[in-house]
Subunit: 922 residues, 2 copies
Amino acid sequence: MNQGVQGQAGLELSSGEQAAIVAGRMVLHFQEGHAGMRELLGGKGANLAEMTTAGLPVPPGFTVTTEACREFFQTGGKLSDERFGEIGDAMKALEVKKGQRFGDPHNPLLVSVRSGSVNSMPGMMDTILNLGLNDETVQGLGRLTGQEAFAYDCYRRLIAMFGNVVFGIEGLWFERKLHKLKEDSGIEEDRDVSAEQWKLLIGQFKQIVVERAGKPFPQQVEEQLRLAVEAVFASWNNQRAQIYRRIHRIPDEQGTAVNIQSMVFGNLGSDCGTGVIFTRNPSTGEKQLFGEYLHNAQGEDVVAGVRTPLPICELEKDMPDVFTQLSATADRLERHYRDMQDIEFTVERSKLYILQTRGGKRTAQAAVKIAVDMASEAVITREDAVLRIEAEHLDQLLHRAIDPEAALDVIATGLPASPGAATGQAVFHADAADEAARNGKRVILVRQETTPEDIHGVLAAEGVLTSRGGMTSHAAVVARGMGKPCVCGCESIRIGDGQFAAGEQVVKEGDWISIDGATGRVIRGHVALKEPEISAELTQLLVWADEVRDLRIYTNADTPHDAAKARELGAEGIGLCRTEHMFFAPERLPVVQSMILAEGMTERKEALDQLLPMQQSDFEGLFRAMDDLPVTIRLLDPPLHEFLPELGELLKQQSAQRQETERLEQAEKQDPRLAEVKRQLLETERLIRKVRLLHEVNPMLGQRGCRLGILFPEIYAMQAEAIFLAVKSCQQEGVRVKAEIMIPLVGHVNELKRLRKLVEETATAVLGDELAAVDYRIGTMIEVPRAAITADQIAEHAEFFSFGTNDLTQMTYGYSRDDAEGKFLTAYVEQKLLPANPFQELDREGVGELIQWAVQRGRGVKPQLKTGVCGEHGGDKASIFFCHELGLDYVSCSPYRVPLARIAAAQAAITARQAKAEGAVG
Amino acid sequence: MNQGVQGQAGLELSSGEQAAIVAGRMVLHFQEGHAGMRELLGGKGANLAEMTTAGLPVPPGFTVTTEACREFFQTGGKLSDERFGEIGDAMKALEVKKGQRFGDPHNPLLVSVRSGSVNSMPGMMDTILNLGLNDETVQGLGRLTGQEAFAYDCYRRLIAMFGNVVFGIEGLWFERKLHKLKEDSGIEEDRDVSAEQWKLLIGQFKQIVVERAGKPFPQQVEEQLRLAVEAVFASWNNQRAQIYRRIHRIPDEQGTAVNIQSMVFGNLGSDCGTGVIFTRNPSTGEKQLFGEYLHNAQGEDVVAGVRTPLPICELEKDMPDVFTQLSATADRLERHYRDMQDIEFTVERSKLYILQTRGGKRTAQAAVKIAVDMASEAVITREDAVLRIEAEHLDQLLHRAIDPEAALDVIATGLPASPGAATGQAVFHADAADEAARNGKRVILVRQETTPEDIHGVLAAEGVLTSRGGMTSHAAVVARGMGKPCVCGCESIRIGDGQFAAGEQVVKEGDWISIDGATGRVIRGHVALKEPEISAELTQLLVWADEVRDLRIYTNADTPHDAAKARELGAEGIGLCRTEHMFFAPERLPVVQSMILAEGMTERKEALDQLLPMQQSDFEGLFRAMDDLPVTIRLLDPPLHEFLPELGELLKQQSAQRQETERLEQAEKQDPRLAEVKRQLLETERLIRKVRLLHEVNPMLGQRGCRLGILFPEIYAMQAEAIFLAVKSCQQEGVRVKAEIMIPLVGHVNELKRLRKLVEETATAVLGDELAAVDYRIGTMIEVPRAAITADQIAEHAEFFSFGTNDLTQMTYGYSRDDAEGKFLTAYVEQKLLPANPFQELDREGVGELIQWAVQRGRGVKPQLKTGVCGEHGGDKASIFFCHELGLDYVSCSPYRVPLARIAAAQAAITARQAKAEGAVG
């Protein structure tokens, strides 16, 4: 049972492909195909067909289809006689076209055999050149070209490649012999090797094949061809190809095609050459031919780096006609494919041949410039330009990066948790980070993992490095939210007291380190960073994106600073302000703690009264930063114990204070400090009792969210009062406030009813008659499955639904984010039990179904219900596409994801429109 | 804004009621109503109407409806003139009927005014007798009856009751005066008080009214009537009524009716009397008039216990005609109402009057006997008999109870977590319980809370008492599963070292205590227990239930002993065998631990090889006990850390071992024990590392269930092997095995696919060709919301769905069972945010909707899909009704809930059929 042949039903074939399959044909000449037949012909084959059909100078040939590959695996890894017959027929046609015969000693046809899969899999599959040479035809080739040395050079290359690809003999064995030959005869370059010397080497190569493969190099050209095609097919399942597919999520059942093409030679003399060009500069995007070529050389010499190639402009001097033809062809190919092309060409005796063309890889900066330029040139539409931009491009452009020129001492690699690079002195505590930053130092906070109490340290640091936790650990989420670089789960470092070790190296507090949040690299020392650039082209692209998208893009922001940044990046409102983040500020935490520890209502009210003006000024800052845009404020959400010290710490403290008490009590003279130490001990013991009382087995499913609001209405009342006081003062300043108050973790409509009433009563109490002139809404998070299920009931008491997809995913899957990633989720994704990590990419079938249900039920009751997503998924492209499909009103993401979200939302809208148009046509 | 007038739309009215409301009438004569008009007339009014219509000797009168009560609250707590006019008209008609006039000094009509709510609310509402007496009419009554003392006695009663009910004057004030009067004059009984003395007292009573109410007792009889009706209505919202309604979940908007009825007197002489009878014996159910009466007395004298009443058989001697008439009436009423009746009667001058009839309260034993007897007598159908049985009846009948005659020293009260009573010596550790039981002692295990490691202690104990945890805490769930009595969450006891304190009392290890799991009582000392009785009648009822129910009843059983017990109680299979409970047995735990701690596969396999034969014999026992019935075996479910010792314990151990090591190292001579202590310390440290590694923030949502099976396939493979080896050996013995293998915690279809394959491959490996002859299925728990949502995908790979409603409720609500009950759930239910605790009663709107969705989607793919519930809800009546409505195939509950489930399932089927029939008629 071979995986490779399964799931054919899953492939989407074009009409041409279907026709070919229906006709039972598994071999197609280049002139019979076109670019739309990638699934059947592979990327390279489809491009060769497209170019052939377009009349470009492509050496003739044909493609053995992916369907044949699937058949190959189905029949146990053998090419059937029927299939080989079909290949033979195609070879006959090729012979006619070239006026040569395969295996003819006098006028031999030589071909290349190359794999060509549907998705680009660079370096993964194998190639054989010069197939058709044997002891006899090599002589014919020598005679025909008048270059015996060239002919034997080609032959020795064939034997080595064939030995490697078909028989699995390591290239090293052949290279050693060549090396020795050149050394013995004092020759530096291959082209100086004589025919006789090549013959000697060929004898040695044949010997290697016999010794290592147990059989001779086949002299029968048909046997060469059969074995070569089989070897390419078989290589689909070699280990590196399997790994590549797993990483890039390419289905195993896709299979590869094989392209058989007549050879052309760039190494037949001074009127020959070979090269690679890009139609535009792949680094900058400038419109200008870019590339290099080698005089009198074969293609692999460019790649192998044996000789240093010349810049392409030199070709213009050497062969002006060829250069003109190449420029025109490049231009034609770019317009034809409507994208910057990466083209391989060969010049054989002053005749230009195009061997391959494909979309060129490019830097983020180039990608943006090329897309905008091509739209301006009317080669592509503005929508196409928007569709061309990828998430990684924006990650590169919007964050600082490590100078690509810098030499790096990489000492460890963790998870790339938040993009961007940072450099600073290592510190190991949040307080230390805070203090160092106050003194003007740049620091990297290094922790096993972070907790909400470390927030001020994260805020103060340039970046965060943790040794535990996954892509959605606390450190990762917080860092992404703040746009700070973060490398997390770097398990190879061992954090000790004031230092960490990575392998043999030890980094001490104060040592300089750098992290690259885009790759997960941890680097010793200070490195130079490149500032992010929002180019004119990127600005243009974002404007185009805004013109077509339907989803509004909000941001998750807790501070005026974040809000302003997000607005600058295009956010149209705040979708989530987590008020608890305001509670963790170091000067507020003691007040929050005394509120929690309060023995009675009076004491608690006192603490709340202190918090009220602080919260009010927080909200005023947000309203001002978001003048005329909605600001969604979530009332207190996390379990109260998060605001208290850890039990372990307290127990240590208690033990120390007890010992101190005993010591002082046993002292001969009464020590004046005794009373104070005793008081402290009592306080510690009180804290211990409270922490124990608040301890929960599963805090995720415990006393948090609106459950707090129900049990301690005075907390929510204080927050509502602060909001409406802020509304009042801001409106007096002329700020246009749009407040949206969000009740978290609602599971039953009664919770929302009760708390809505509390908020409304507070609003009336604060604003009285002025309330009529205030633009505010009350809504809820939908993050508990039950809320989604009973969305119709809940919608009656909510003006908006904000899907908290982080928690909704946790509860729908029954996965604790804190536990799953380290423990089993990674294994699940690796073992393909899950298509993706559902905390990164919204799970359509499960969580998505619930969201859809909730939207339908909610809108059934209240058609104008506003809906959006404010989880981490709000900044993920695939998830944004899904949100668009569901018809949500907005997504909310961290400030630095806003540009990405704008692009993704536009792409979703365009893609949907195109699919609809196609549906209408088909 | 008064709650009392809301939600009228929610009331379900009979056609008679609707007609009355449509006619705009809010006062109805007894002869105009019937028993079906409870919503409008209240229970008492409807019964009086029914009896009147049936021609029984009921003193004439009328009812002011609940609709008038709602109107009363709507108009701000005042009786409208229109309504009072209607009452006046009814009084006129009553005057005609009685030939008396209200307020007529010569021939006064006297009435009683009583509340009568829809649901019985005993003692909650208020009554006024003798209304219509004033300074003039009292003289007329005296003349008319020829008994002046009687007349003034009636008058003083009116003033006191009126003062109390209408003016809110405490009864104490009046009682004191009466007491003083009798003391001063040396009178013992009220009937010996003379008219003159009553007059004196009446003067004093009037004075009390003026002093305390600030206004005189009204002489105007119309005013008396108006104030009385208003007072009864107003009393609907008095505090005790509100509390009663909250406890019994009676809607606030229901309102009460008021019954106004002409007075009859049982205290006019020796041909008078009053009494209460039951138509059958309420303790035993025997068919025989049962009750008592008082000669020459008013009704409240029976209740007040001023005089000792006589058994009803004495009436036969005193007034044989009246007794015959009463017997016939009782018989008629019982047949009329088709239930045992509790009847109040009065004999006025040899004429029998029926004042009230209602269904009589009865013991569980009586309830069963009466139901079966009445079905045998053809008074009711067998289905009616089944419908009459309540869950609490069965709880009483199926568990040992405390001898009702015993004198008890109750020292504390906790939650009634598992029914039944137990008596034994207190022990404080599971091991101690186990050891004591082995030595033949009976013990009660007392713990703060229990953990899975205490299972053997629970098993060994007679019952369990915990100071923490709710109705669904570990102790409660496990105890219910084993049918052991349990009192949990008994927060008033403080457990110390080898003792616990309850108030001033201290119970030491070895002291005898008793617990009553039906009431939550904790009793000092040894008490006598009554054995449960499965009477012939109960057996009969269960057979009748089995004839009509559609749901199959399975049981949750982990041992052959439980399985056999459940089968005896009527279980038709095992719906849930938790294999982990087998892992906790003390002789196995070390093997399980070494399996968990294994460093590599070889080591783990060794441990698994030891477990294999143990599991195999477990399963063999179950298959034998359930010969020819399905046995559903759930593969390992809980997180592995549950099998390891607690971190705190280990740290203590480590500290002790370290100290010991140091001590031995410092000793002068080398101690031979040093090596052993060092080895132990290393072992402890290894355990600590593993426990830390397995620690989870939210274990509920962590690495458990099938996630273990995916990560450690060798564990599930061992379990599957044990199952199929057991199948093989049992089939060879001739046991008819029906194995159902259940994969827990599936959230994504791929998990099930992978593990199903593992089980199937194991089956083939063990059984080979014999497999064809084996009756087995593979299915899954549906307990993760995502599994319910994607049930169509999952059903393709499952032969059955077992809804794990405990976990499904946890995740759908986002409530951790371990945290919610203590922290907020109790408050939620008390504050009516939730209609019920969703862990006790299945939440229809949320969790239920998911189940329904899953059943529909699952059956859409696989129509024959078997579905059931195996959570705690499988033993809850309301939940069983819901399961019936959903069309599930079975419910599974703990062995001792099986009879209840059989009855509930039958009741659900009957109720549904009746509703359908009514629907067809209506």
